[in-house]
Symmetry: C2
Subunit: 333 residues, 2 copies
Amino acid sequence: MSGPADVPKLFEGVRSGDRGALARAITLIESTRPDDGAAALRLLTMALPHSGNALRLGMTGIPGVGKSTLIDAFGRHAIDQGHRVAVLATDPSSQRSGGSILGDKTRMEELSRSDRAFIRPTPSSGLLGGVARRTRGSIVLCEAAGYDLVLVETVGVGQSELEVDRMTDLTLLLMIPGAGDELQGIKRGIMESADVIVLTKAAGPDPAMHRTARNALLNAIAFLPPRDSGRRPDVLLTDALTGSGVPELLRHVIELGTKDKASGYQQLRRQDQNVAWMHQAIREGLLERLVEDSALVERIDLLEGLVKRGETGPFQAANEVLERFRTGGAPRP
Amino acid sequence: MSGPADVPKLFEGVRSGDRGALARAITLIESTRPDDGAAALRLLTMALPHSGNALRLGMTGIPGVGKSTLIDAFGRHAIDQGHRVAVLATDPSSQRSGGSILGDKTRMEELSRSDRAFIRPTPSSGLLGGVARRTRGSIVLCEAAGYDLVLVETVGVGQSELEVDRMTDLTLLLMIPGAGDELQGIKRGIMESADVIVLTKAAGPDPAMHRTARNALLNAIAFLPPRDSGRRPDVLLTDALTGSGVPELLRHVIELGTKDKASGYQQLRRQDQNVAWMHQAIREGLLERLVEDSALVERIDLLEGLVKRGETGPFQAANEVLERFRTGGAPRP
């Protein structure tokens, strides 16, 4: 943002369905500039009462599994069915130099042409983290803008995928059979956080492999504890290129979403997620406040030099910074 | 730790090569109990001057790629060659219920029998994070205990693998050909942080596939910028079950390590890593200090209820906590 943001006007733009306003609103809450913080807080506070009406879907899977292609096909089909679709990418793996080798430009090309779709590419991650405020806040803004399907895409075989599970209603785990031994590869944490497992590229040269993989997965799932929803994930076969399985996938997730809403489970889950959001905002806010203290930032610069030259240990230096931060700049007596 | 730790005695045990003492020392620095913090800091400060003599290897790759099996074979071969090997696991994906479906007990079984090996399983991750102090501190302790090869294992297609790259001398990226389209799947960030790419399971039914994959990777690598070391990664073929390629892999990494030490690059890299360590310790320490403030923790409990019932927004609640923390408990006037 250049200059202070006109929050009420921005909010009005978001509510009216102006995609440019939505993009600027997300940019505001992604901003790490200290003076944008208060405006972002105001904007989110205004948007929150208008949020909550979308089905929030997390989509996760290792690189190469075909997430973008499936989201493209899935999103287009959902739009054909009357939905409005927002896609938020949280992919952390390209942070170093941005983008996959094949380039991010070709991703979700067809979907991005629809005026009932909003696609937000990976934010540049910066040093401060801030994924919580960004992605959770972006979901709230997309909902306030009237999108009723919000897809949060992440590369996941670890932390990031569990993060996404903590901010969506349903987590879709995308897999391809043949990527090594399925069972060996699947950690409990990942399987347990999946509401639906999607086997991609099912129209490939060996369809029997997909059926075999599906059976093996269902067998493995039977040994896992059910999710908090009381369910175990089903395994669906899709092929984004031919579109096969895509309508069934949409129907399946809408059905799960409707069930969870009716039973009250969705609300319980979102309440817990809001508490987690608070905790995450505390973690991120601590660091943001630290870097607002310019005397402390200067001291950190100096300590960096000492640590670099081996004149002090990294944890001793960190300890000093922590003491100074807590006591408002002065070292403790 | 039950009761206050006798740090000098513990340190002496670590230095004398007592594996039980080393395990207890790591437990101490992993502890999130506020009263263990000072002891952990003393221990690390004592150990730091005795550290730095190992070659630090990060090993990363998606689940199912065969990390544990390769580390087992690699570690045993290194011990045969006179090395002492420590293995630290940082796998974040099993945090929810711990362990893969096949169980962690069978991992690195043969290596764990050697008295020249030290294997530290995945720490329970806790809510506070603390990976920095834990893993970096564990490396320092293993080196002070005389291990000259420290392997840090992580599941990586994202954040965690870049973390490990920031605390080791060389990053080994493990891959299996056939897991989808290699090029599609490889994000620049991951490729760029690899010093060596290891294709695993090379003695499988289709050895030609490995050679083809190696060539495709080398072609892709040629398009990437070189690492800060000035090098691009080589691609090695290994098979942990037959042991083929394992001696070549050890020779290769030792050679790279020796070169980087002679050129001064290793020292530069470690200096930068120490600065990053300091920053990470600050981030983690902020949160640890917050939870030491019992009045604030009580207020957080109360806010959780308000957020849960929708009576306040998560970011508003977070904001209040941040204000109170900074002003030492009292809300800002």
